[in-house]
Every structure is written in structure tokens, then in C-alpha cells.
Symmetry: C2
Subunit: 767 residues, 2 copies
């Protein structure tokens, strides 16, 4: 086996074998019964089914009619650009992953009892990063081919094009969830989960970290790329040269279309992969704490939920059929309802088979599913042209750009209100249901019961992730299809069809962002708890290694904001989200500046471009924006990784030096072994950073989306329509909203989760 | 005495007399020695000195030359408008205060052991509200007279005008700090502080709440007024009618000048009054916990710091003299340095006489003084035209309003970085110095020592408050002087002088906002601790009333974010700051809309206005914006007061019903007496709301200031100067920044402190 080779090569094989684990395990070894192991095999099998399903969808999409030569030429240029970007981006991310792997290994080796874990964590980190990379790559591989086929299918019927685009999206959805499931199950098996189910979940934390690292850079790099190309193309094309959007004379037009793929498609794919991965590992850690009650089934439950997700989503995608003349959103929504309903049914079965008919836990799962519905509805309310918020922004455009911006920001600042109330309700309810569902579980604290309830709700929310992701990838595919139709001068009715699909794609992209931030908020709690649990586990190891035993009832479950260093950690966490957003937004500005300069230079060097007699050099623009986006993603990305690490290590030293105390400090006799003040500050950093990040992300996603649609509303003829002063004001708002909703906002989702996984993985360094 | 009459009328005199307190006091009564009492009398005396000083400054200002008849006519219109607004505003606030007093009384009466306190809290609430109202009124009384005299003095020399404007500002500064000092000392005396110094500080919490309630409405109402008038006057005057700023033909021009007074002058006065009041009471409560070590001197220390503040600021104001040709900011800065130096010297004396030569505590005070310097410098960096941030915004104006807004928001989001680092360092250092300074204090926890250090730092920061406030009020006075000079057609050199003063005034206003948010951040911790201490005190009362005693070492000092209801409280706190800002910004938009409609109507009804043959009806515009601002302040103000109350009471019930646990819960035997989950959720609501509010306020204050000065930079001739496209883009940014920096941002400062005082006062309802 490859793993054995790797371990052998590193000379570490003996420490790493299951035999070793068995010999040092502190918890009595409880080999998993073959009946229970069956569930792991089922998860494994459904993971493979997902990949096969993705393959079939991909074959059917790629086998479809690929349109005219003109269409193919444009699609080839997009494909080339996207592949070149991804190749360079993955190279950069790969180097960072290797460096981090070394740091991680060294960090873990420096802390004695975890030397054996070092390799496992590093290995799972690399596997997580690789899986995330593969799912981003595969998803994009299909979507940059599906765009062309969707444009071609639009020549015959709307329904055919809709199905093609959704099937293209389904590839991403299935690969992402399938790889998360397969990756975790494989590592669980390899690390000896069937022999030692209670400790192995703690060893999987590297997987989530690898996934979020790739996700952060994928989203950040892609987000900067897409908006730099978009803003650059618009400012120099529409404003300076006066040519329409997607006009083939604009040298940045291909870069703009490439951007949709690398930003929305690869970026969000990595985002959801990361959610599925990190939140499953977190839930498995919490499941491990309930081992005395639920056995190994409690640990495997999150994997089975993903299996349900895959089956439900495949059926959901299969049922989507649009009647001609119908709004494509209706068809997509029907699929979502079907998926959610099937997921709920599957959840009920899983509760029956795995959670001993604890129906209150099904109620907690239903809370999660309801939360995803509510988030999608709230996002619709704030970003669709039918409702008050977008209408009020459009109206404010009449008095100029300033009032448009003020109204948009006011709407943006209002948007967190309802989602926060929903999340608060969901957390409290699922906590309560958790307590009720595990009421008979003796030896388990009320707190652990409640937290497991919130974990189940998170699983419920994620149980339609594959479908949501398919809908999301539908966005860039239809956007590209529209661009291809436009650039290849398709007849009016074809462009009308692609426009309608594109409008639906814009909506699905906004909804997915709402869903992603919702799942991040709900999952935040699960990840905090996993962090606290991990610190607790480390403390137990260290104390026992020093020949002591933990006092009964002691737990590291306190993050006391009334402590100065903890409060300072919280303050810094919130500050990071602002600084990170600021950097991401500036990065777009700088990269866009380079696009503008190149386009101006091309117009100047080659006057034939504007006459339509000679073709612009699309590749040069793609190359420039690729380099700029990759350069710009480094600084904010590094900040996101380094700041929690620095704070954790700094505060550990500070707390020793400044005699700071933690509310969880051990009794005096053991106080010399571990100092918890650093770990507690990091927890506050993580939690308040998460709260601040959730609110800022909502402000930016929904504010940006509302500005975009206010512009569309005016373009549809309101307040003077296209070309009016109100329209000019609306364009200003839309441009401001672009880096908000497509760069900073989505990157913040990932930042939040990266903070959770980086602290989870590096916890041993903070204690 | 009036107090006796009041108590007699309410039939409560017997419970309220010092004799009663003596009879029920749980802590052995330790009458203050006459040597110690002397310090209270010194504080008292210096409070009176401040008022006399204010009177003298006011007399000298009002006695100065009051200019030409044309100037007087304009000034009279401003005076009338400002007084009319204040009268109506105070009436509205008065009613709310009365209603809240009744609610407060009822709330306190419902919780048995605090029935005797109910009257005291309500009484001190009303005194606090009244003092805050009086200081706002008196400050404005002088500044709406000083504006005219400053304009008149500008006809002779810059230096004379500068001194006049600063002396006008000094009246506000001295009255605000003097009344805070007098109010607290008087209440302390009346409530029997000399007989029972340890319990009386807890009874003063109503004073801070009264002050912050008035401050919130004063700042919110004034902020909405000033920006509605400004934006309205600009949009319809400059943009639609094409007349310059401050043109007498604009019917909204007087309303605009009134706005500067009611927004900047009365609003910020109430803000700083509130800081001085609430933070002194908080520090006295913490001083009370150190009674065994420091005696009554520790409790009186905050009052002596204010006395130092008054003396140092009076001298500082006295030394300000500007050489002709010099930048007025240099002269003002010299005064600030002198004040800070004197305050530090005074602090050293106070440490010697009151804190037993604990020099580490002087170091903590020095940290506070250094923090105020750093905050002022950072604000300068972000808002002055000399530095990169404003220059980058001005440069972005070249590519249009969208890039201007994007860059401004990116700068705004960057601005919290350095201040947060400074605050973090200040908190950690002063905590450490507190621990060192009180190392020999036996029987006091390390935590209490450290927290006292942070309280001393806050006192240090506030020890130049009177001077800072004088500089701040300098702003609206010089702004108005410029308007009066402009409207009365003064010769060029006069207007040049007032312009230079006005520019300095813009800077001082920005710096004061930086100072105010800095002191709010540093004080936040002090107020949290006071809240925790108050809850602890309530629990002790209830437990003892039920015949139990608290377990040794138990303390309510935990705000555990890892608890679901606590986390939900935190999430809701952060959400409130966004929703509040959204409401405040929208309120400006709606009120401005009414101004625009009236101005349009006046131009239509009376065509003579534009010809200059007939005068517009300034009063009508003033009347309209007064009504609109007062109406619009109700909803966000009510939200700020009601949300913490609702959450506290709701979570208390929820926690009982949902079996939620708090990490500070009492042992099972006493658990039925109090449930702490509600109080803990409120604490998290307060703390995370404060963090989020601080960051949002910095974003808005500095972002808004930077946009404003980027416009000024372009107007000075860069990037094409006035009338260029870059200038038009800059005007958009400035307009967006207006409600940010003058309505929502400053209101957030007050909101943060209101949250602290409302939770402090209503703590008995949450337990």
C-alpha cells in the first residue's frame, strides 16, 4: 500500500503502525463489530457511486453537440485560460502546502506525546489538500466544456440547455461531496478506525485543514481573478471605448469569462468541499465523545449523512425538467425541494439505524434542513428584484450614485438581522433537541448532549450540499454560455434563452452564497466545540504523561471573555476580518489596474482591433490577470494562516510571562504542566472572528447582490432604463458591489473555516 | 434639602435615609476618616472651580465684539434654530426619561432585596440625565454665541479668533467634566458614601445610565439633523440649483449651520459627559472591591483624576496662543501636549497621596495617556491629506466614483488594525501593571488587581477629556464662523482666516472622534468588569437573603462563549451594531428627502429667492428638519435600549425552561435561587456588541473623514481640481461618508456605552 511506502520512506513506519497505536492507546481498545463496520463500507461504496455518477454526467455532457466552429473557438480560449490559471495556481498552492506540511510536522514533533500523530496529521493534511485540489480541477474540467454545450443546446430548446448546464454542475457537486466522503473514510480505515474508533477522529483534523487551505487560496485567487478581469474589462471597454459587454473586440473579454469559472466554479467548489470535510471531522470528534452511548455508529453518522446527501442530490438533479416558457428557477427549486425531502427521509432512516431511534435528534436534523430553506429565502428577499430592498436601491439611483451607495450599504448592514435570528433560533433549538434526544445517556454532560444536537443540525444543513453545489456551478456555466452565444453572434432567440438561463444562474449563485454562509455559521459552533475537545484531549495526554491524572469533572470548555487576554484575542479576531476584507478588495483594484493598462496598450498597439479587422491578444490579458491574481492572493492568504498561529504562540508565552490566568486552569499541583491562557485566547480569536466574519460576509454578499440586481431592474426599463442617469448611478453601485460579493465576501466564508481548522490542527502548539 | 422633599413625597423617606443603610449594611460600617473625606471635598471644590472657570470663559466670549448687523442677523437665525431644536429634543428625551424612570422603579421593586435601591437608582438616573442635558445645553448656549464673535474677531487677527473659538469650546469642556464630577460627588455624599463607602458606588449606576440615555438621543438626533440638513442643502443647492455652499439663497443654509451645533457640539458633549460619568462610576465600583487594600481613597481616586483633568485642561487652554502665519493646529497641539504633561504630573501626585506610592499604577495611568496620543496620531494618519490613505482615495477618484468608493471602503476596513493593536497592548500592559502594583495586596485575586490596572489606564486616557472636548467644540464654532463670514460677504482676508480655522476645526473634530472611540474601547473592559461585579453582588444578596452563604472562591466572572446561549447573545450583540447603523443611515436619507422637498417648494413658491430679491424662509426648513430628526431618532434609540433588556429577560426565562447551564452556576444546593445563564448571555451580548461596534465605528469615522479630506485635496488643485471629473467622483465619496462619520459612527460610540450602562443598571432583572 502506498501509505506503508510513504511511512517506510520516512523511517517512521514502526511508530505509525496500528500495532503501535494499540499498544499505547489509553482508551480500552474496542474493535468495531462487523455489523457496525458495515456502515463504513456503505459510506465508502456510496462515495464511489458519487464518482461514477459524476463520470456518467460528465460523459453525457461532453458527448453532447458542441456547436459551431465559432463557438468552439471561443470556448477553447476560455478553456485554455482557465486551465493555465489553475495550473499556475495549484503550483503556488502546492508549494505552500509543502512548506506548511514541514512546519506542521516540526510543530507536532516539538511536543512530545504527539510525535506519533505528527505524520498522521501531515499525511491527512496533504490528502485533504490534494482532494480539494482534485475536486476543484475536475469540476472546472467539466464546466469549461459544459458552457459550450449549453450554448449549443440553447439553439434547440431552453429545457435541453437547462438540463445540460445542471448536469455539468452536478459533476462538481458529486465529485466534491464524493471525495470528501471517500477521503475521510479511507483515512479513518488507514489510521485504524475500526480498531480504535475513539481516538482516530482526532487524527483526521489535518484533512480539514488541508481542504481549507486550498479552499482559501482557490477562492481568494479565483475571486481576485474574476473581479479584476470583470472590473478591468468594464472600465476600459464599456466606459472608455464604449463597446458593449462581452464584445469580442475587448481584449479582456476572455479573461472575464475565464474568471467566472475560476472564481465561482473552482472557488465555491473548494469552499463546499472544505465545509463537508471540516464539519464531518468536527462532528466525528463530537461523536467520539458520545462513544459510551452511541458506539461507533455515532462516529460514522456524519459519513452516512454525506452518503444520503449524494443519493438525494442525484435523484434531485435527475428530476429537474423545465417546461418551455417557465422560469428556469422554478425547475431548479423543484429539484431543491425534492432533494431536501429525500434528505429528510434519509436522515430519519439514519436516526433509526445509527442513533437508536432517538427522534429528537431527527428533529435537530430537521432544524438544519429548515435553516437552509430559511437562509435561501432570506437571501432571495434581499437580492431579488421583486422585493423592497433592491427596489429601494434602484429608487435611490434616481438621486445619483451617492444615494445609491448609501442605500445599498444601509441595506447591506440590515441583511444580517434575519439570518442572525434564524441561526440563533437554530442553535438554541438544536441544542435543546440534543439534550432531549440524549436524556437517557448517563455519564454524558448536558453540554455534550446539547452540542451534539447542534452538530446534527449542521449535518442536516449539509445534507443537500451536492445539489446546492450543482445549482451553484450552473451559474458560471450559463454565464459562459451567454458569453459564447454573444461572441459567436447567435440569433436573437438563442441569446434570449441563454440570457434567461444566465439570470437564473445569477440567482443560484447568490443563493449558494447565502447557503454557504449559513452552513458556516451553524458549523462554527461545531468546530469551536471540536477545538475545545481537542485541547482537552491534549491536556489529558500531557497531564498523564507527567504522571498525574486530571481532576474529575475538569474540562476545558471555557472561553471567558471577561479575561483580558481572551478579550484581546476576541478583538484581534474581529480585526482580522476587517483587515482581510480590506486587503482582498484592494487586491482586486490593483489587479484590475493591470488589466486596464494592458487593454489600453493593445488598443494603441493594434488599431485594427476596434475596427474589427484584427483580433486582440486575449491570451496576453489572461496571462497578466493570472499573474496579478496569484501575486495578490499571497498576502491576505498568509495573514489568514499566520495570524491565528502567531496569536496562539505569542499568548502562550505572554501568559506564562505575565502571570495571566485562565478560568480553566488546572489545580496548582498540575499548573506547571500546561498553561491554558494561550489556547483560550485563540478560542476567543476564532469565535469572535467568526461572528464578525459572518456579519461582514453577509453585508458584502447581499449588499453586492442587491446593487447588481438594482442595476438589472433599471436596465429592464425602470427609472429611465439603460443609458439614463439613474442607470449610470446604478453601474457605480454594481461596480462597488463586485469585489464585495465575489471576492471579499466568499473569501470570508472560507477564512472563517480556515481559522477553525488551523486552530484545530495547531492546538498542541498553543498549550 | 430637595432630595429629602422628593423622598418624602414618594413616601419612601425612611427606607432611604443613611440610618436605614447603616442598619441593613452587610459590610461592617467603616465611617470614612476626616482625612480621607477631605479628598471628596477637594473633588467637590474643583468641580465648582470648573463651573466658575466655564462662567468666566463664557463671560469673556460673550463680552467680545459681536460684529456687524449682517453678521448678527445670521447668527441670530442660527441661534434661534439651535435653541428651538434643543427645546423640542429635550422635551422628547425628558418624556422618555420619565417613562424609563417608572419602568426602572417597577423593575427594581419587583426584585425584593433591591427595593431600597430602587429609589436611589431612579433618582441618580434622573440626576444623570439632567446633568447631561444641562451640559449639552450650556455648551451650545455659548457656542452659538461664540461663532459670531469668532467671525467678528477674524476681522482683526487669526490668533484672536483662534483664542475666542477655543475659549468658547472650553466652556463645554469644563461644564461637562465639572458637572460629571459634581454630580457623582454629590450623589456619593447624599447616599451616605462617607458612612458606607463600599456599597454606595453600586448605587450610582443609574447616574451613568441617565447620562448615556441622553447622550444617545442627543448624538443620534443631532447627527441625523446635521447630516439631513447638510446632504439636503448640498443636493438641492449645489447640484440642482447650482449655487455654492453657504449661499444665503439656499433656504436650507441656516439649518445646515444649526446642524453643526446640535450634532457636533451638543452631541459630542453628551458623549464625553457620558464617558466621564459612566467610567468614573465603573472605576469606583472596582475601587470598592479593593477597599481592604486601598481604603476609601481607591474609591475616590476616579474623582480626583477628573479634578486633575479640570486643572490641567484649564492651564492647557490658557497657554494656547497662535503666532500669525502659523498653522492653527500647531497651537492647539501645544495645548494638548501641555495638558497631557500636567495630567501625568497630577496623576503622579494622586498615586502618591491616594494609592500609597504604588508606582506601577502610575505606569498604568501613563499607558492610558500614551493610548490617547496614539489614537490621535493614528486618526491623523488615516484622515489627513498628508498621508497615503487619503492620497490613495484622491487618486482613485480619477477613475470615477466607483473606484473612489471601493478604495474608501478598503481604507475604512483597514483603519481598525492599528487601533486594535494599540488597545490590545494597552489592555495587556495596564493589566500587568495592575498586577504588579497591587502585588502585596493580600486577599485580592490576581484578576481584580489586573482589572484595576485597566481601570487606571482608562482614567489616564480620560485625564485630558476637558481639553479634548474644548478642541472638539472649537470645530462647530469655527465652522459656523466661516458660514457667517461667507453669508455676510466679509472681505477676502477675513474669509481666508475663518477658512484656516475651519480646516483646523475639521481636524479637531476627527481627532476627537478617534479619542472618543479609543476611550470607549479602553473603558469597555472597565464597564464589563463593573457589570460582572454588580451581578456578583446581586447574587450574594439573593443567596444570603435565602439563608445560604456563597461558596468560598465563587465568583461570577465567566462569560463562556463556548456555551450556546452565550454565543447566541454574542451573535445578537454584533448584529445590533449593524442594524443600528443601518437604521441611522436610512434615517438621514429620509430626513434629507424632506429637506429637499421643502427647498424645491420654496424655490417654486417664491422665484425671488434665486434672484436674490427676496429672502427664503430659513425657519421653515429648520422646523422641518427638526421634526424629521426627532422622529427618526426614536426607532434606533428604542432598539438600543430595548434589545439588551429583551435579551436579558428572554434568556433568563429560556435558560430556566431549556435547562441551559452557565459555567458560573452555583452548587446544586443553591441553584434554585439564581439562574445565571441570562446574565451571562447579556454579558456576551455587551462584549461582542462592543467589539463589533468599535470596529464599525472606526470604519465609518475614518472612512468618512478620509473621503471628506480626499475631496478637499482635489479641491486644493490635485487631479484637475474643482469641477473636474475627479472632483465629481470625490463629492460622491464625501456624501457617502457624511452619514458614516457624523451620524452612524459617533452614535455607535454612545451605543456601546449605553449597552454597558443599561446592562449595569438592569442587571437585577437578568438574574
Amino acid at each position: 500500500m502506498q501509505l506503508d511506502l510513504l511511512l517506510f520512506a520516512s523511517g517512521a513506519a514502526p511508530i505509525f503502525s496500528p500495532q503501535h497505536l494499540l499498544a499505547t492507546a489509553e482508551i480500552p481498545v474496542t474493535t468495531v463489530s462487523s455489523a457496525d463496520a458495515l456502515w463504513l463500507w456503505i459510506a465508502f461504496a456510496i462515495g464511489i457511486v458519487a464518482l461514477i455518477g459524476a463520470l456518467l454526467f460528465a460523459r453525457s455532457v461532453i458527448g453532447s453537440d458542441s456547436g459551431t466552429a465559432a463557438m468552439q473557438e471561443i470556448a477553447a480560449a476560455i478553456r485554455e485560460g482557465a486551465e493555465a490559471f489553475l495550473a499556475r495556481q495549484y503550483k503556488a498552492i502546492g508549494w505552500m502546502a509543502v512548506i506548511l506540511a514541514v512546519v506542521l510536522y516540526a510543530g507536532y514533533r516539538a511536543y512530545p506525546p504527539t510525535a506519533a500523530m505528527a505524520l498522521k496529521v501531515v499525511f491527512s493534511f496533504l490528502v485533504g489538500a490534494a482532494c480539494s485540489g482534485i475536486s476543484g480541477f475536475m469540476g472546472m474540467f467539466v464546466s469549461i466544456r459544459a458552457n459550450l454545450r449549453t450554448a449549443a443546446a440553447a439553439r434547440t430548446s431552453l429545457s435541453a440547455a437547462l438540463r445540460l448546464a445542471l448536469h455539468g454542475g452536478a459533476v462538481t457537486g458529486l465529485i466534491v461531496v464524493g471525495l470528501a466522503l471517500l477521503g475521510i473514510s479511507t483515512l479513518f480505515l488507514l489510521f485504524g478506525g475500526l480498531q480504535n474508533p475513539q481516538t482516530v477522529p482526532y487524527q483526521l483534523v489535518g484533512f480539514g485543514f488541508g481542504a481549507s487551505l486550498v479552499a482559501l487560496f482557490a477562492q481568494l485567487g479565483g475571486g481576485i481573478y474574476t473581479k479584476a478581469a470583470d472590473v478591468g474589462a468594464d472600465l476600459v471597454g464599456k466606459v472608455e471605448a464604449g463597446i458593449p459587454e462581452d464584445d469580442p473586440r475587448n481584449p479582456a473579454v476572455i479573461a472575464d469569462l475565464v474568471g467566472d469559472n475560476v472564481g465561482d466554479c473552482a472557488g465555491r467548489g473548494a469552499d463546499i468541499f472544505e465545509s463537508s470535510a471540516a464539519e464531518s471531522v468536527g462532528a466525528m470528534i463530537l461523536g467520539a465523545t458520545l462513544y459510551p452511548v452511541l458506539g461507533v455508529k455515532g462516529i460514522l453518522f456524519p459519513l452516512i449523512v454525506h452518503a444520503i446527501n449524494i443519493v438525494a442530490s442525484m435523484i434531485g438533479i435527475g428530476v429537474v425538467r423545465s417546461k418551455d416558457g417557465e422560469d428556469p428557477m422554478h425547475a431548479l427549486n423543484r429539484g431543491f425541494y425534492a432533494t431536501s425531502f429525500l434528505a429528510l427521509a434519509g436522515f430519519a432512516l439514519a436516526v433509526h439505524f445509527l442513533l437508536q431511534d432517538r427522534w429528537w435528534l431527527l428533529a435537530a436534523g430537521a432544524v438544519g434542513i429548515a435553516t437552509s430553506f430559511l437562509f435561501v429565502s432570506i437571501t432571495e428577499y434581499y437580492t431579488e428584484t421583486r422585493f423592497r430592498p433592491v427596489r429601494s436601491i434602484a429608487e435611490a439611483c434616481v438621486t445619483g450614485p451617492a444615494t445609491n451607495i448609501i442605500t445599498g450599504l444601509a441595506v447591506g448592514m440590515e441583511t444580517p438581522t434575519l439570518p442572525v435570528i434564524v441561526i440563533s433560533g437554530a442553535l438554541l433549538l438544536s441544542y435543546y433537541f440534543g439534550v432531549l434526544g440524549l436524556q437517557d445517556a448517563t455519564g454524558i454532560t448536558q453540554y455534550a448532549r446539547g452540542i451534539f444536537g447542534t452538530a446534527i443540525a449542521t449535518m442536516g444543513m449539509l445534507s443537500s450540499a451536492a445539489y446546492i453545489l450543482a445549482m451553484d456551478t450552473f451559474g458560471p456555466i450559463t454565464d459562459n454560455a451567454g458569453g459564447i452565444a454573444e461572441m459567436s453572434n447567435q440569433p436573437h432567440e438563442v441569446r434570449d434563452r441563454t440570457d434567461r438561463l444566465d439570470a437564473a444562474g445569477n440567482t443560484t449563485k447568490a443563493l449558494t452564497k447565502g447557503y454557504a454562509i449559513g452552513s458556516a455559521s451553524l458549523a462554527a459552533f461545531l468546530l469551536f466545540s471540536a477545538y475545545l475537545e481537542t485541547v482537552h484531549d491534549i491536556v489529558r495526554h500531557r497531564v498523564e504523561a507527567a504522571g498525574f491524572t486530571l481532576p474529575p469533572g475538569w474540562s476545558f470548555s471555557s472561553v471567558n471573555l471577561a479575561n483580558v487576554p481572551v478579550f484581546v484575542g476576541a478583538l484581534l479576531g474581529a480585526m482580522l476580518t476587517y483587515l482581510f476584507s480590506s486587503m482582498a478588495i484592494r487586491a482586486v483594484g490593483r489587479a484590475a489596474e493591470m488589466v486596464i493598462q494592458d487593454v489600453r496598450a493593445q488598443f494603441k498597439e493594434n488599431p485594427g482591433i476596434m475596427d474589427g479587422t484584427s483580433r486582440p491578444d486575449y491570451g496576453r490579458c489572461v496571462h497578466i490577470v493570472t499573474g496579478a491574481a496569484l501575486k495578490e492572493m499571497i498576502l491576505p492568504g498568509a495573514l489568514a494562516v499566520l495570524m491565528p498561529v502567531t496569536i496562539g504562540i505569542l499568548f502562550r508565552h505572554l501568559s506564562a510571562r505575565f502571570h495571566l490566568v485562565s478560568s480553566s486552569d488546572l489545580p496548582t499541583s498540575m499548573a506547571h504542566i500546561v498553561n491554558l491562557s494561550g489556547a483560550e485566547s485563540v478560542a476567543a480569536f476564532l469565535m469572535v472572528g467568526t461572528i464578525s466574519g459572518i456579519l461582514l460576509a453577509m453585508l458584502m454578499n447581499n449588499g453586492g447582490g442587491a446593487w447588481d440586481n438594482a442595476k438589472k431592474l433599471i436596465e429592464s426599463g425602470m427609472y429611465g432604463g439603460k443609458g439614463s442617469d439613474a442607470h449610470k448611478a446604478a453601474v457605480v453601485g454594481d461596480t462597488v458591489g463586485d469585489p464585495f460579493k465575489d471576492t471579499a465576501g466568499p473569501s470570508l466564508h472560507v477564512l472563517i473555516k480556515l481559522l477553525a481548522t488551523v486552530t484545530l490542527v495547531l492546538a498542541p502548539l498553543f498549550v
